[in-house]
Symmetry: C2
Subunit: 420 residues, 2 copies
């Protein structure tokens, strides 16, 4: 009886290092051929399993899989597709187990955030009750850094390094220009519900007066007067003002500032962006010349400035997921455990998925200064190790050399098409 | 009689490598102490000369000056302040010569774009006629890449490398997500009057189907129908569509798309950005989910991903400026001369400022494909060498370590304050 196969899928928004986790899973599985047959990947995440659109990763060379470690985004495709509760979405869960059974899949590795942890747990429960037990291990990934138990989430450290680097560089730029030109610069970053990425911008400032001078967190209600007073103070005292703002900042009425009801000349609604809203406010109220940037996907795809710590951790959780599965652990997730802060030491731990699913780790209020506009030293101590080290990708012709896999399909075994 | 001093100033928008030119000027001057006394820098550019606010660079250590080579933005401050014609602004030109005379400045090195080349030429002419001849050498710098005679402009290659890298990374991200989520991504880049930076985004695409799929150049009028048809084609054929757009793209009526008359909920005018306009158009017309990014200052400050070729050239023109001055060349500018394309070889040449001032080098139409949406192989051959090589700055605590100079003031000699 040949060893059962494994299934691996990427879920939700991709990151600079989710492929490093894929490399960890696949390379580790390849070292245990007696226990794991092939690793199949879902084309476009879990949708690939539902539609029986599987990728045979055994067709990829060792060097291609190794190159995943330095390639951003999701090499097999990801998706935004949430399976609901077992009752609501029973047919989908059953279909998954049916596809897994057809392809002799005994291990399910699901690489994503909170939603995918929940799906992973449910599949382990349902497959058991359906008499085809599958070992399910969740591989943590989210730039939002909001998974519980784990000290940090793979993907976050690299975004943090990118936004802090960008803020420092733009801060130097504005400082040069402020005498006669731009006095205020606004950088919009991701993190609709929690301010971890906004907080990371704060690492650029090493001493009073350094950029950023103001951070606007989604955890706190935007106070226009207090903000404008702070901008004015910064321009008067430091010559300029650099602002890091979360896309999720809300006004007193609970609405996203980014959805401020913009209309273009034709009356069409304009897709938001909070940076231009903040910039316009500064212009209209204080008449300071300003510039704004929206980093958007650039921040989470920026493998060229990834954190070496993050890359190592992303690989390690992929590797540990396979090792946990081989030891018979089911419905678990590898975690990052902080052993010490200075010097930074970490190891991989294990969490039960029932303790992970549907819980969000919010940023503590103690990580934000009393005035609400910057990070505390406690926050800095937490964040600083996560951006340590550089792990530049190989370059060719002046650009990062990223791998595109063959993504060869696995022959279908079922003749029942599945409607999503 | 001690050797005359030199004056160096930075002008206009700063770049990732203008400080490398400063290092080239200062380090070379320090090697010729018999002929050049001290190098004074203008605090905030030419304004520092007009207001007699000079910086004594001799107070900076050799290692601080060396660190300028890897530090972005303008270490002495830049400014947007244009001196007009000799008749109109005669008092300002005379004031400059007066300040230079008071500080025994015999060499004027002005680091900037077209406007500063013109100022540099005028000072050489006026100082001559005022009986205090100053050797004036312009040091080329502009991300816009629009100076004549020189094959390329220091500052451009690093922006080009940044936007091409960012486009490639974001393209990988969108490709991962397109099945169920974002199908169109728009990256806005600088270059209001010419499409050099937009063109550089095109380097990310190595073969048909790679991002970017569409480039929108300021040289061509935006054609909404043709653009939307192309977006649809790209989504249908490649699964997604990545667009690079110049901030300076105009509609048929000659207006910037970025100034599309946006109003916020309070009726205030919103500061533009062309990326959200393009994104909204795609959403409203084709209903594709989309994301957009505005790189703004991030692109020109991104020293962490500077082109090694650009850094070398920026340093070389600073060094050559001093060498030209010492040989008695006046009213000239060092240029980059392309000796061969493959392999890329270049040297430093010399242009007369009368041939440089008030001329812009536009991107040839032959660099844009017939359909107007991409770059030709001719363009690619021109651009490719300029992004070659990496020159990563030193990192500390996970972030690039940039130098902040002491910028010690030179004691004033004149007691006449000058009103700008």
């Amino acid at each position: 009886m040949p060893a059962p196969n494994a299934f691996y899928a990427q879920s939700g928004g991709v990151t600079a290092v989710i492929n490093a986790s894929a490399a960890g899973v696949i390379e580790t599985a390849r070292k245990h051929k007696a226990k794991i047959g092939k690793v199949y990947a879902g084309r476009n995440g879990i949708i690939g399993a539902l539609t029986e659109d599987l990728i045979d990763t055994s067709k990829e060379s060792a060097s291609a899989i190794a190159a995943l470690r330095h390639t951003p985004a999701g090499a097999f495709g990801s998706c935004r597709f949430k399976l609901r509760g077992l009752e609501e979405s029973r047919a989908q869960y059953e279909r998954l187990v049916e596809v897994f059974k057809a392809h002799r899949i005994g291990y399910f590795f699901y690489n994503g955030g909170g939603d995918s942890a929940d799906t992973c747990l449910k599949i382990s429960q349902l497959s058991d009750s359906m008499g085809y037990p599958i070992v399910c291990v969740h591989v943590p990934k989210t730039v939002d850094n909001d998974l519980p138990i784990t000290d940090c989430c793979p993907g976050f450290g690299s975004v943090a390094k990118y936004v802090a680097t960008s803020m420092r560089e733009a801060g130097f730029d504005v400082a040069s220009m402020a005498k006669t030109s731009t006095k205020v610069f606004v950088l919009e970053v991701m993190g609709r519900h929690s301010g971890w990425i906004t907080a990371a911008c704060g690492l650029a400032a090493e001493k009073d007066g350094d950029a950023p001078h103001i951070l606007l967190f989604p955890e706190l209600t935007f106070d226009e007067d207090k903000f404008l007073a702070r901008v004015e103070y910064s321009v008067n005292n430091h010559g300029y003002c650099a602002v890091g703002v979360s896309e999720g900042v809300k006004s007193k009425d609970g609405k996203f500032l980014a959805d401020a009801g913009l209309k273009d000349a034709f009356g069409h609604t304009q897709l938001g962006g909070v940076a231009p809203v903040i910039a316009s406010l500064v212009k209209n109220s204080l008449n300071y010349k300003n510039h704004w940037a929206v980093a958007d996907y650039l921040q989470r795809a920026a493998r060229h400035i990834a954190s070496a710590t993050d890359v190592k951790q992303a690989y390690a959780v992929g590797k540990a997921a396979v090792e946990f599965a081989l030891k018979g652990h089911n419905a678990v997730m590898p975690t990052i455990v902080r052993l010490s802060g200075k010097p930074y030491k970490w190891s991989v731990g294990m969490a039960q998925l029932k303790d992970v699913a549907n819980k969000e780790k919010m940023m503590p209020r103690s990580f934000i200064t009393a005035d609400g506009f910057h990070i505390t030293s406690k926050c800095r101590d937490y964040l600083a190790p996560l951006i340590q080290g550089e792990d530049f990708p190989p370059f060719k012709d002046g650009l990062p050399r990223y791998v595109v896999l063959k993504n060869a399909p696995v022959s279908r075994k079922l003749d029942t098409p599945f409607q999503l």
